[in-house]
Structures are given as C-alpha cells and as structure tokens.
C-alpha cells in the first residue's frame, strides 16, 4: 500500500481566511480524492483530483470554495477558502489505482473559530 502524508495535521483558523492542505504520496498513483469527515460523521467525497486538468467536484461542493490542484502523480492540494465554523472538519486525501482499493492519509483536523 502507498504511504500518504498530509500537512498540516491540524490547524486552528479564523473565519474568513483560507487554508491549503497538502497530500503527498510515496509512489505514483492514478487516482487522488479529497474527502470531508465532519465531527462524528461519515466520509463525504469532495472531489476527484485529476492530474493536469480541473478537479471533478461532487454535488454540493464548488471550485471557488474548495480549489484543488494536482500538478503530478504524487501530490495534490486542497484549499478551504473563506472559512466559516461550518468548515470545521477532518479533511482526508485518499489514493488508488483504477479498479483497486483506496488508501487514506492521516487527515487534517481543521477548527475554524
């Protein structure tokens, strides 16, 4: 399985600011995904990060709020823009190859005050 790291591991931010979360994988992967897990809740897919093209967003998530970059096959960033307390969540990246399973990073715990 791939080794996945995320930075930062946690952060406390003020409302109205933005935070960029990094996801780094130790090997090239086809698919990278970003999920949100609100406190005590399940995981919800935000978007699929596509290498060299715009991310594919799920219903309820928009690029202006959650811009995503994927410059290569081992790295992606998710930005949470113009944050509000409702954005307080765990943000997780996952990686996988087509038709195979997904492995998750350790997550970024975000608290917005």
């Amino acid at each position: 399985s791939a080794v996945i790291s995320q930075k930062p591991s946690r952060d406390i931010c003020q409302r109205g600011t933005s935070l960029t979360i990094q996801c780094q994988v130790d090997s090239q992967v086809t698919m990278m995904f970003w999920y949100r897990q609100q406190p005590g809740q399940s995981l919800t897919l935000i978007a699929t990060a596509n290498q060299g093209s715009e991310a594919t967003y799920e219903s309820g998530f928009v690029i202006d709020k959650f811009p995503i970059s994927r410059p290569n096959l081992t790295f992606s960033t998710l930005t949470v823009s113009n944050m509000s307390p409702e954005d307080s969540s765990i943000y997780l990246c996952s990686v996988g190859q087509l038709q195979e399973t997904q492995y998750f990073g350790p997550g970024t715990r975000l608290l917005v005050l």
Binding site: S1, I4, M31, F33, Q41, S42, L43, T44, L45, T48, L92, S94, G96, L98, Q99, E100, T101, Q102, Y103, F104, G105, P106, G107, R109
Partner: protein, 114 residues
C-alpha cells in the same frame, strides 16, 4: 440510489464475542465493497474488501458475507478484542466506470468490553 445504509450506529460486545455490522445498498452497478476501520485521530484503514462474484471472504478474524440478491453485505468480527474498539465504515464503489469513487455508510462505533 447512491446510498449505502449501515447499522447499527453503535455496538457493544463482550470480549470474545462476535461483532456483526450490516450494510445495504441500492445501486446494482456497485462492484466493490470495502470495509474500513478508523481509530480516533487516525485516517480510515482498509480492513477487508469483497467483489460481488463471491459470497464470503475471510481474513483472520474478519469475514465479509455478501448477499447479491438482497443487496446486503455484513462484517463479522470473531473473537472480538478490546483492541477492535473503533469506528467501522462500509463502502461501495463502481470501480470500473467511476474511477473508484467510494460511497460510505454512516459508520458503526464498536466498543469491546473486557
């Protein structure tokens, strides 16, 4: 049609007992069903997964039972241990057509009492 429904929401089992968590899905196009285990402060870790061409898969103390006609699958943890106390998520995906997007169940918080 994209939902995966998981039950129970929480489960308390005595050490050595069997923990059973159930999931049901609607979309017959799903072709991959993993279970993830998540400890507090950690990301989900893959536990075991099954494809619909088999009815059961066993790995150590963990078994997935799959009922394609009922569109249900379940996780059985035999000889449950306090170290198994965690939140368990079932999931489903259409790996071939949608690039592996996972749809997660609501999660089950398992507590194994010594």
């Amino acid at each position: 049609q994209q939902q995966v429904k998981q039950s129970p929401q929480s489960l308390i089992v005595q050490k050595g007992g069997i923990s059973i968590i159930n999931c049901a899905y609607e979309n017959t196009a799903f072709d991959y069903f993993p279970w993830y285990q998540q400890f507090p402060g950690k990301g989900p870790a893959l536990l075991i997964a099954i494809r619909p061409d088999v009815s059961e898969k066993k790995e150590g103390r963990f078994t997935i039972s799959f009922n394609k006609s009922a569109k249900q699958f379940s996780l059985h943890i035999m000889d449950s241990q306090p170290g198994d106390s965690a939140t368990y998520f079932c999931a489903a995906s259409r790996s071939y057509n949608q690039g592996g997007k996972l749809i997660f169940g609501q999660g089950t918080e398992l507590s194994v009492k010594p």
